[in-house]
């Protein structure tokens, strides 16, 4: 198990490097292929009608005129060793992992991501708990009561839930529950440490909107998995042994059903930790998702790189945890 983890950690580092290379390539090489020079690239980071000297200056400051491999080298070095930054009047040291300074605001990227992370974490984990518990429960009940009104209704609703995009359900939720009937007025993020009750209250709408999508998916998955599992031979054996039906369902059936669900859950959560973009934009939550949108809109390479790598990191770690978890839960994988 330990060698397994170590090997995977190495693979993680390798993967992150590849991700950063690809991001770099997309940012620089593709426009280059369209004929863009570094001077032209630099213009978008200066005000309107800049003088030539101004553009050259910013080009130099941002390092855009250096060859790509050099820029990439600087980027890697900063992550591993940190870098020094001159704000004009003073020089500060940006400790590793240093994701550089925003092209737009010239402020360090890492502290911004760190301050945005709790928002995304709150949103993602809260929604995850809701969708996992809710979706799985509904799925189990639907499977056990297959064909009944409850089953048909819940699967119908689930189909709707899976099909409706978040920017739609989110806006509807806001329209209804924040403005029309001010049950949740003024939904703005309050940090957990400042005011836990308000933190939760203001996150309820985004939690449920985000969870609805996944809960629907998980209900359907759990139902399908449960139905499949309950038709397995070992369930028949369990019954043949004279076990109580309750034990058959929960000890034998659920355990087998949940394993793939848990792995999917790990993947979904990992993906969300990199930023629940649409939910955050809809509800104006300053998390990594919103940060990503701003970074892309501003063509802010250090920010884009930073958030991409962070998101990739979460996904890879989630993958790793899921794989380990699977080995723990399913003995067949271990041997």
């Amino acid at each position: 198990m330990v060698t397994f983890i170590i090997r995977r950690l190495f693979a993680t580092v390798f993967l992150l490097i590849v991700v950063s290379m690809i991001t770099f390539a997309i940012f620089f090489l593709i426009p280059k292929l369209a004929g863009q020079t570094s001077y032209q690239l630099a213009i978008q980071y200066v005000g309107r009608n800049p003088t030539r000297a101004a553009v050259l200056e910013i080009e130099d400051k941002l390092g855009l005129n250096a060859p790509i491999y050099l820029q990439y080298g600087r980027f890697l070095k900063a992550i591993v060793l940190g870098t020094h930054y001159n704000s004009g009047t003073s020089t500060t040291y940006c400790p590793p992992p240093c994701f550089g300074y925003s092209f737009k605001s010239q402020q360090p990227v890492w502290p911004q991501m760190v301050s945005d992370l709790p928002v995304t974490l709150s949103l993602a984990i809260g929604a995850a708990v809701i969708w996992l518990v809710g979706g799985v429960t509904i799925g189990i009940i639907s499977a056990l009561k297959r064909g009944t009104l409850f089953d048909r209704l819940s699967m119908g609703l689930a189909l709707v839930g899976v099909s409706l995009p978040i920017f739609f359900t989110g806006l509807i939720a806001l329209e209804l529950f924040s403005y029309k009937w001010p049950i949740f007025p003024n939904v703005q993020y309050v940090s957990l440490t400042t005011n836990p009750l308000l933190w939760a209250r203001n996150l309820i709408l985004p939690w449920f909107v985000l969870a609805l999508l996944y809960a629907a998916l998980y209900a359907r998955l759990t139902r399908a998995g449960m139905l499949e599992t309950m038709s397995e031979d070992f369930i028949r054996t369990a019954r043949a042994k004279g076990l109580q039906e309750r034990t058959v369902i929960f000890k034998h059936g659920l355990r087998a059903t949940l394993t793939p669900i848990i792995t999917i859950f790990g993947m979904d959560l990992g993906l969300l930790l990199g930023g629940a973009i649409i939910t955050e934009v809809t509800f104006s939550l300053h998390g990594l998702g919103l940060f990503t949108v701003e970074a892309v809109q501003n063509q802010d390479l250090p920010e884009i790189l930073g958030v991409t790598m962070l998101a990739a990191f979460f996904i890879v770690i989630a993958n790793l945890v899921v794989d380990i978890l699977y080995a723990v839960v399913d003995p067949r994988v271990r041997h």
Binding site: Q44, G88, T282, S284, L290
Partner: protein, 590 residues
């Protein structure tokens, strides 16, 4: 001739207000010195101060769907931010705070005691500072602080965003000056074209006559910055205030909060007020949500000032009570298409004129959002609120708003392409209005045989890499290019030099995308640099405007409008014409 719609509606608003006043319905105590009507009606704030009041207290919350380019007053160029920084910055000159172009586009002294007077053929400009002005920490403001503020903008590696006028106009070592950050001991106060003979006098030496220099120093780049408290790129976290408010907190891209500056005195700048006891700005908020919050009264102002989104627009316009609390001013912006004068066959004037006659002006207006959300059909190459503007309509936009096919066809004959020709239309593909307008343009040109291909580009790179690069425009046959513009200051020079003067053409980031090189126009701009006569300036405005249209270098679409909503609890609300949105420096709460 059709009356501009805003004036008509404003008249209705004024009548309604008078009626309301007669019935004893006016609210708020006292006035703020300008037009006194206080009642709320549609477009009332365009010409009058709505809810004039001196009441202090309350919190004003601004929401913005993006973020300012920088909260550092010396590092910003966004229109809404030039408006907002007046709350904590005091440049040498500023605009008079009042509605209506006659009043509001007047330049008045700010930190300076009077407007600068140009000497030596308008190449030298001297300003005297008001006495007793202090920073928020009590330190007296000196002319060195103003010089330093200008100096620091020269280091574009640190402060990249602001205008470039000082770098191109100042004499002496300005061309090679790299700013006070690098090699500070040597370069601090080393810009030798700015003199500070004493702590209350500052003198600017230009390398050419420039009559509009008072407008140049109206930019907050001249708001004083204490050199020993400057933190360069980090100054945005807490700019040292010389205005009625100072920074209490700042979270990059998220929120900043201003509280009253106890040092401030109204005499320093009569154009702003210190009424609210707290100002909060929330950044990067969902645009539709901003409208909902405005209407629900959770926030007071949309900081971006470009109007509500389509759903809120529909709601406001269809609800009389909401409509009475809204205004549709000209948003200090014109949307148009450049007609490039070098890309064949548009290098032939008559081919360009054919395009001018042919396009469907009404469809254009609809594509940009219609009369209220898009704007008035534009017939000229200049905003109507530019000083000296005179209306004219060379290409029958108002008489034949769906296009003048006959005249277009005749022009096609004259340019040697009787059956039409082909060219490309460039536009920003992530701007839905430009997508729609390009399609409308394509359709109407097709009706006279002008075949066009649509070429979309991302907005971020549009000026830097594509439309703003003449070589690219030529090599890709981009004959028609979507664009928009707001003035740097409200006269023809501040509006149009970068658009129409041949000297403004640069190899990348070009704004004279038509590549217009009209000797007359060049001459008139040059003359404007030299004359301080208002009437002469106004005359030039009209001449330049007419000539650009005669040259068919610009295909006007709309004088942009924005539907703005003012919550009833907000006081001293009016549209400051230069910004095209509510004046943020004077707001209060009831």
């Amino acid at each position: 001739m059709r009356r501009p719609r805003t004036i008509g509606l404003a008249a209705v608003g004024a009548v309604a207000a008078l009626v309301a006043a007669a019935c004893g319905g006016s609210s708020g105590g006292g006035t703020s010195g300008s037009s006194s009507s206080s009642a709320s009606a549609f477009n009332a704030a365009v010409t009058h101060v709505v809810n004039p009041s001196t009441h202090k207290g309350g919190t004003i919350i601004f929401d913005n769907s993006t973020a300012p380019d920088s909260t550092d007053a010396g590092n910003t160029y966004y229109a809404f931010n030039l408006n907002f920084v007046m709350l904590y910055a005091l440049p040498l000159t500023t605009y008079k705070s009042c509605p209506g172009t006659t009043c509001g586009n007047t330049i008045v002294p700010g930190l300076a005691t009077t407007l600068g007077v140009g000497s030596d053929g308008n190449k030298t400009w001297t300003y005297h500072l008001k006495s007793g002005v202090k920073f928020e920490d009590g330190t007296p403001v000196t002319s060195q602080d103003v010089k330093y503020a200008v100096e620091r903008t020269f280091d574009r590696g640190v402060l990249a965003n602001g205008p470039s006028y000082f770098a191109s106009l100042l004499a002496g070592n300005a061309a090679s000056y790299k700013g006070p950050f690098k090699n500070r001991s040597k370069n601090l106060m080393a810009l030798n074209s700015v003199d500070t003979p004493n702590s209350s006098t500052i003198v600017f030496h230009l390398n050419q006559p420039f009559a509009d220099f008072n407008y140049v120093v109206a930019f907050p780049q001249t708001a004083p910055v204490p050199p020993n408290k400057d933190t360069g790129a980090n100054y945005q976290n807490h700019p040292i205030s010389t205005g009625p408010y100072k920074f209490q907190s700042y979270q990059l891209n998220k929120q900043y909060t201003l509280v009253p500056n106890p040092q401030w005195k109204p005499s320093w700048n009569p154009q702003v007020k210190q009424l609210a006891s707290k100002i909060i700005v929330n950044l990067n908020v969902n645009a539709n949500d901003i409208d909902n919050r405005l209407l629900a009264g959770d926030i007071q102002v949309d900081q971006a000032g470009t109007g509500v989104q389509a759903p809120a627009r529909a709601k406001i316009l269809s609800t009389p009570s909401l409509k009475a609390d809204s205004d549709a001013p000209i948003n200090a912006h014109e949307w148009f298409y450049y007609i490039n004068t070098k890309v064949p066959p548009l290098n032939n004037l008559h081919c360009r004129m054919a395009v001018e006659y042919a396009y469907n002006k009404t469809n254009m207006q609809t594509a940009y959002g219609g009369p209220i959300a898009g704007g008035d059909i534009a017939t000229t190459a200049m905003l109507p609120n530019i000083l000296g503007f005179q209306k004219f309509d060379l290409y029958h936009a108002l008489t034949k708003p769906s296009g003048d096919v006959a005249a277009a066809k005749q022009q096609l004959q004259e340019c040697g392409h009787p059956n039409g020709f082909s060219t490309n239309i460039a536009y920003r593909s992530d701007r839905p209005r430009e997508v729609a307008s390009s399609q409308a343009l394509q359709a109407s040109l097709a009706s006279v045989g002008i075949k066009t291909t649509l070429k979309g580009y991302t907005a971020a790179n549009y000026y830097g890499t594509f439309a703003g690069v003449p070589t690219y425009v030529h090599s890709h046959d981009l004959g028609l290019l979507a664009g928009g513009w707001g003035p740097d200051w409200p006269n023809a020079y501040g509006w149009g030099w970068a658009l129409y003067d041949a000297k403004a053409i640069v190899s990348a980031g070009n704004a004279n995308i038509s590549e217009l090189n009209d000797a007359n126009i060049n001459k008139w701009f040059l003359a404007m640099e030299q004359t301080t006569s208002k009437s002469q300036s106004n005359a030039y405005a009209n001449m330049i405007n007419r000539q650009v249209m005669k040259d068919a270098a610009i295909l006007p679409a709309v004088y942009a409008k924005a539907l703005l909503y003012r919550p009833p609890g907000l006081t001293n609300v009016y549209v400051q014409p230069f910004y095209g949105m509510y004046n943020y420096g004077v707001l209060g709460t009831k």
